[in-house]
Amino acid sequence: MTSLTDRYVAATLRGIPEKQRADVDRELRSSIADALEDHVANGEDRAGAEVAVLEELGDPTRLASGMTGRPLYLVGPELFPAYRYVLFLLLAIVVPIVGIVEAAVEIGSGAGIGSALLEGIGGALSVGVHLAFWVTLAFVIVERLDPATWRREDLKDLKVLMAPWKVENLPELPTSGAVTVGETVGEIVTAGISIGGLLYLRGWSWVTDASGQPIPLFDPALWNFWFPVVIALLGLQVAFHVVKLVVGRWTIGLAVVNAVLLAAFAILFAALALTGSLINPAFAAATWPGLDDGDGIAMVAVAVTSILVSGWEAISGFRRARQRPSTEMEFAS
């Protein structure tokens, strides 16, 4: 036997379980010899015929996977929807929470805004990479389990995800009360950006004083009490959005909680604006004298806008809680 065939057989056997190797080895060599004999009988020279026969057989990795039934993919089409669902859901919930918590802990330990932001982003990235890796690994293993076993008895949780599709699984139309992963991600990201923005503006400003030091937009005194409260409220909103996603749809109870959170936020912001304690007096002096006046046009606009936006959000929560699809109520009764 020449070395090309030896190498081909060896490459194929690498993908074959130990106990079948001897048999596959013998049969494959015999098949190659048969084909080779045929080619040579047709007048080809032996070396050229060997190349032709082996190339006809193709990639030994594929040949071996065909013999063993081992897939040539990580996660196949049957498991892929469940994989994507689990991965995105976990990423959407865990990554923002870890990022915010890590940044908050860094702030709590007295670090600067810059390092808190870095800590938050770094934490979010690292937990995201871990999640993606471990979830993928889990599905890759499940993909390689014997289908006859796991589909019937084992892995009950996965069986739920793999259950036959029913019309109840249809997503609600966008106008209905159902909560989607996409909107939840959007809401959490928005809250995260708000928190990050507040923290960032504590130490950074586009206006600087004579010595080049930044003049923060917001009154630094707010960091003694009110801004931590604002950040806590935003954190509660993140938690609320996650709970809402888990519940799966707007309910009157959720709408009430949502309204309370938004009202607290709006009232706090409006009060700070209208009492003239929101904007840093030094910032106003350097840019637009009167900007920080509680009865000035700017602060009234801030107060009105925050009340209107929060009010609208609160009302739409109640509207979506009412918009249960009619079928849902029929089944409920």
Binding site: E27, S30, S31, D34, D38, E56, L63, G66, M67, G69
Partner: protein, 113 residues
């Protein structure tokens, strides 16, 4: 004129569904891999070696084929034969195939044959 590439793709799809049946029918008379390949080709069912060899192993694993090494020839060869279970499956599939062909002829607007 039908696009060659398109024709090739769909022909392959069509044959993929029948290659198991072809093997089960042909192997009612025992045969080794390369000879089966030649026989299928001569019968008008050309198949690739890298389709047939793995398929034989999988069919054997499922009990539809049995195998036996024959060392009498110039070189040792693994002969496959359709098992009783494989033969029963072949009968069922063959009757399905006949029905399918008749249905396609009917859809084509003409009588069978």
């Amino acid at each position: 004129m039908v696009d060659e590439e398109l024709l090739g793709t769909h022909r392959q799809e069509l044959r993929r569904g029948t290659v198991v049946l072809a093997c089960l029918l042909a192997l009612r008379a025992p045969e080794y891999g390369y000879a089966l390949l030649k026989r299928l080709g001569a019968a008008g069912i050309p198949s690739d070696a890298n389709t047939i060899y793995p398929l034989l192993r999988r069919l054997e694993e499922r009990g539809l084929l049995t195998s036996e090494w024959n060392t009498d020839d110039t070189r040792p060869r693994k002969f496959y034969r359709t098992s009783p279970a494989g033969s029963a499956l072949a009968d069922q599939l063959m009757s399905d195939m006949t029905d399918l062909t008749a249905s396609l002829h009917a859809l084509n607007g003409g009588a069978v044959e």
